[in-house]
Amino acid sequence: MADLALDPRMELNPPLITSGATYAEVNQQISVITETAPPKQWYWVFFGVALPLLGLLGVCLTYLAFTGIGVWGNNVPVGWGWDITNFVWWIGIGHAGTLISAILFLFRQKWRTSINRAAEAMTLFAVACAGIYPLFHTGRPWRAFYWLLPAPNELLHMWQNFRSPLMWDVFAVSTYATVSALFWFVGLIPDLATLRDRAQNPVRKTIFGILSLGWRGSASQWRHYELAYLILAGLSTPLVLSVHSIVSFDFATSVLPGWHTTIFPPYFVAGAVFSGFAMVITLMTLARYIYGLENLITIKHLENMCKVILATGTIVGFAYATEFFIAWYSANQYERFIFMNRAFGPYGWAYWTMISCNVIAPQFFWFKKLRTSVPVMFVLCIFINIGMWFERFVIIATSLHRDFLPSSWGYFRPTWVDIGTFAGTFGLFLTLFLLFLRFLPAIAISEVKGVLHHQINTQPATAGKGGAH
């Protein structure tokens, strides 16, 4: 190790898996997490927070279903409020998972292997949280199936309007959830087989035996498997970009000042990646601490994610400036008004929170010392998550609260059901994530072994000849 560190190229490309692990050690370290109780009290502390919040979600949604969506603060003129804000925010959180598993896979970024499994799980759970909002904003979620999906039915005798972006949204989000779940499960199959082979307890052996579908890891199976994984990555890449673009169409195809802009699709996608990576860092620093995974999820992984956050954060900041510039340059008085009102109107406090969290916070990642410090990145990522929530809130509330008629101006205030539902989705998200950490391999065992194999084969060459990583 000592002479490896002397090589300047090794400093640029430090090994992705430290502590000289073997295949068996990787297997042991990751599998044992699912086989034994969590090692630190923190796990139970998080559970203690998550479960009451989950209960709160149940209470709020039941109350809403029995009473009607008037229990939310939405009203004229702000017909969209926290429901759509939270929906867009949660969908955005999910995007980092797909980005890591699909786009970084296509770019052959080997550092993704230690974080992709947990990030994909995060995607699924975030999409589940997001899905609650469109489902419950119909007011009668048990009938939403007929209103949202084009299923022949005797109830309505009519079809959905496919010219509506809200309909595109249904297709985009449900496709996204389905493909993410398939991608995640396909990635899990070899690792489920590993858990099956290690299982001592017959119940465990049966469960993982069924889940792993009889996977053997034969060369012919790997051949089809690898191609399937590559194709899924290839499909998910445009999918993830399309989902947030289509979410942005909900706004962009309307004629409301502040919404009706062509910058929305790329701007929303960048924002989604930005907030998603921040959430991945928030969760991974915790999981890494609870389970002592510092040798697998190294500072290098976290630093790379910080760089992505810096890049996307800069895009988001640039988009804010562009919006303002275009509002002025268009010479459209309504457009100019809405942007002046965003910054200096009644929601100015939300606008400046957004700017501070999204534009200023990521700038600290220019400094290597800060982007390699776990406490610093943890705090900054929390700020970024808050900032991105405010971004969606600012877009929705400020464009609606002062429309073309000053007589109908108003101010949106969330009700306790709004707040409780949002807090409750955190409970759902955290509960699912903690259960995932406990029962499924949080790191892709077979992929890490592949990276380890690559590392074993290239490291002597790197040390000797100074070859590229």
Binding site: M158, P165, F171, W222, R223, I231
Partner: protein
């Protein structure tokens, strides 16, 4: 005479003596992917053709060494994707312009431009189904039973062992000879596995 006939039909309880104990093949156990790859190449050179390798992660170059053909999965996915594309167009045209025509703001009942998002999403959805279920079908998964699992160290294939099976269907298969051959390739544990 009668027993011979029954034996030929392979009915349970009447199998001929030689068929009573069926074998899957001889499985050898290697320490590293490189050892396995070398063994596969040696075995191919020695004329074995019905072989299967079992590894904890995909080893590049092993398909060529085993002489495996390219996976047809790409074609399956292509067909599924096109089905998704066509069904999206049909769905939107039929529901919007034929079965339930509803004029919204004077927009055309069916046009290609607003149909693109659904066309894209359904193509991706059906392609993904094609990729996953096509892969499962090609791999014959889910499977309830496979003879490979009778190998006493089969669980190593998902841990840190690299296994090579020469199957009984191989025309050159003679258990003892295969065993000696695989031992000479550096196998740590070679075993004749029952089916």
């Amino acid at each position: 005479m009668a027993t011979n006939l029954l034996a030929r039909l392979n009915l349970p309880g009447f199998e001929s003596e030689s068929k009573k104990v069926k074998h899957y093949g001889v499985v050898a156990n290697f320490d590293t992917p490189e050892d396995l790859l070398r063994a596969v190449r040696t075995a191919r050179a020695a004329g074995f053709s019905k072989m299967e390798a079992y590894t904890p992660f995909p080893i590049h170059g092993i398909d060529e060494a085993l002489g495996a053909p390219r996976s047809p999965l790409g074609k399956i996915v292509m067909c599924c994707g096109l089905t998704g594309l066509v069904s999206a167009v049909l769905l939107q045209w039929w529901t919007g312009a034929v079965d339930y025509p509803l004029s919204v703001a004077g927009k055309p009942l069916f046009a290609l431009e607003p149909s693109v998002p659904i066309m894209f999403e359904l193509s991706v959805l059906l392609s993904a189904f094609g990729a996953v279920f096509g892969m499962l079908h090609l791999n014959r998964l889910p499977t309830y039973y496979h003879a490979f699992f009778n190998y006493s160290k089969a669980e190593g294939a998902s841990n840190d062992r690299f296994l090579l099976a020469v199957e009984v269907e191989d025309p050159k298969f003679i258990a003892e000879e295969v065993k000696t051959f695989l031992d000479s390739c550096g196998s740590r544990h070679t075993e004749l596995v029952e089916a």
